[in-house]
């Protein structure tokens, strides 16, 4: 397929359609609304389900219902709406249901604003609803990656029967870039054997997250944890730049990672031995790669569009071997490459001081 000039939100919507998404439920919120608007026309065109829900709470529970019937279901939202979805996410995860949720993060807390932010890292990777589990969290940094990860999201969701969150920020949703869409995949005709389709010619199927006996609830938890172990072993993803001989590792995801890339390039031009690691999965966090890279580095610098959230995962992976420094902007402020470069130079200068 040739490249087209595509806006992030539209690209994700069309990628989901081409991945065979059969049902979409959502509620308007900036900066993801174009995604919903686009699908309101596109889904009926293909005879598929689009419904604007009365709230994000209803939207996620509609997704929960649709996922129970074994169709590819998705919703999209932005931070305040994502907060409202917590209840449904927990039920979906506890019921082993595949589905995809897009969170186009914006400035917060509270009503905040509509500028890009990465303030929901904790809420997505740590506590997407109550209980002991993590969703798979994918973090695209470009329109092309947003398309690719939308496809990947549906694949992983079904492969593991697990909740997948596409964690982007308003910048990824709003920017236009040339990108290539996949061909339109046929929609799966068959529903999975566990799906609710009516007990015709078989015993009844039940989907429930209720286990009144603690022994049974623990077994249900162990099942989720075993799955997460497999996911952690197989699905850590990251990309890097100029890490071979680097002494300072810059780490950033999504838009912050992309800005950090420009800053690392500029630092290299100045002769500094700096490299970049950009996590593409936030859960599972690419700790194996980071742990290995940390052995060769003298320090690392975490760049985020928040007060420092991913930095906790970085500290765990680095395990105290090297200093972990931080540069972040909050509340919808996007870091400038020059400011990141200054932070890199300051961190780099400290290497010399230690010798």
């Amino acid at each position: 397929m040739p490249k087209e000039l595509l806006k992030g939100n539209i690209a994700i919507a069309e990628a989901a359609v081409r991945a065979g998404m059969q049902a979409y439920f959502g509620y308007p919120i900036t900066p993801q609304t174009e995604l919903l608007e686009y699908l309101s026309a596109r889904m009926p065109e293909l005879g598929r389900t689009f419904l604007q829900a009365e709230s994000e709470i209803a939207a996620i529970h509609m997704v929960y219902g649709a996922a129970c019937t074994g169709v590819r279901a998705m919703t999209s939202t932005s931070s305040p709406g994502y907060s409202l979805m917590q209840e449904g996410l927990s039920y979906i995860a506890a019921s082993d249901l595949p589905c995809v949720v897009v969170n186009m993060m914006r400035g917060g807390p509270g009503l905040g604003n509509i500028q890009p932010s990465q303030g929901d890292y904790f809420q997505m990777t740590r506590s997407a609803g109550h209980g002991d589990y993590h969703p798979i969290v994918l973090a695209p940094a470009s329109v092309q990656e947003a398309i690719d990860f939308t496809l990947l999201a549906f694949t992983l969701a079904e492969q593991y029967r697990h909740l997948v969150i596409l964690a982007a920020d308003g910048q990824v949703g709003q920017m236009m870039e040339p990108a290539e869409l996949p061909p339109l995949l046929p929609v799966a005709e068959e529903r999975p054997v566990w799906a609710l389709t009516g007990a015709r010619g078989r015993g009844k199927n039940i989907i429930s997250s209720l286990h009144l006996r603690a022994e049974e609830e623990e077994i249900a938890n162990q099942r989720i944890q075993a799955r997460l172990l497999t996911i952690c072993a197989n699905e850590q993803r990251s990309t890097e730049y100029a890490t071979d001989d680097a002494e300072l590792l810059v780490i950033g995801f999504g838009t912050a990672g992309r800005i950090a890339y420009s800053a690392v390039e500029a630092a290299r031009a100045k002769g500094l031995k700096v490299g970049l690691l950009r996590p593409q999965t936030l859960y599972p966090f690419p700790e194996d790669r980071l742990s290995r890279l940390a052995r060769q580095m003298r320090s690392c610098l975490v760049v985020e569009m928040n007060a420092g959230q991913m930095i906790e995962d970085v500290r765990l992976a680095v395990a105290g071997r090297i200093p972990v420094r931080f540069y972040g902007r909050m509340g919808g402020m996007v870091p400038m490459p020059d400011d990141v470069l200054t932070a890199i130079e300051e961190a780099y200068a400290l290497h010399a001081a230690v010798v």
């Binding site: 049902a23 439920f25 529970h61 129970c68 009516g198 009844k204 429930s208 209720l210």
Partner: protein
Amino acid sequence: MMQALREPTAEMEVIYQHPAALSECRTHYCPGCTHGIAHRLLAEAIDELGIRERVILVAPVGCAVFAYEYFEVDGCEAAHGRAPAMATGIKRSCPENLVITYQGDGDLASIGAAEILHAAARGERITTIFVNNAVYGMTGGQMAPTSLLGQKTTSSPAGRMATLTGYPLHMCELLSGLQGSTYIVRRSLHDVRHIRQAKKAITTALRVQMAGLGFGMVELLSSCPTNWGLTPEQAMGWIETKLIPQYPLGDYKVTDEAKALEKAG
């Protein structure tokens, strides 16, 4: 002397049997609770309409939380109050199936008020069985939005006061004003005559969905002897003397199309 039970023979007419749609397991409902009667009526209606293999049941959070265990149909468990949203997701993905939510008054009229209102407003082609027992049964008898003024509950020990918590919520009256509603009726389960009427209403509500008409809800005035602090018999009397005057029985909205189905049945 008691007569030994005889195996049915060809000449004998079956007049009463265990509905195929009802599981052969013990429920956890208290003695004198009408949840069991509501289950039986729903199961009979499903059998008589021959739709068991098409039904998907959405259980609530409340005493009927295990409803999916008690019916021999595909079923799932909604979060508290969200059954209508979940049912919407199911129905839109499986339009050929018959989707039923079974909800208590805390579930439907309090925490899930938005979900039921919008499902009805959309004319969602689902059927809701609404069990109104004027308390939160499962959590131990707290005040519900449907509790009567003056009703003593574990969270309104001095009796419900309008100045503090407002007035009972009448869901049939509320939902019948919506264009998307097709069949909205209130029945009671306190005696045989009313139970029969309730059964007829449940059957009609399911027919409404089978015909692809709009939203249907049957409200059933029900007992909770445990949390009302009454014997089962007294509880039935309380429905008659206290609940029905506050929640008049009747047809709140039956469209002409639904009326035709009612007659045909």
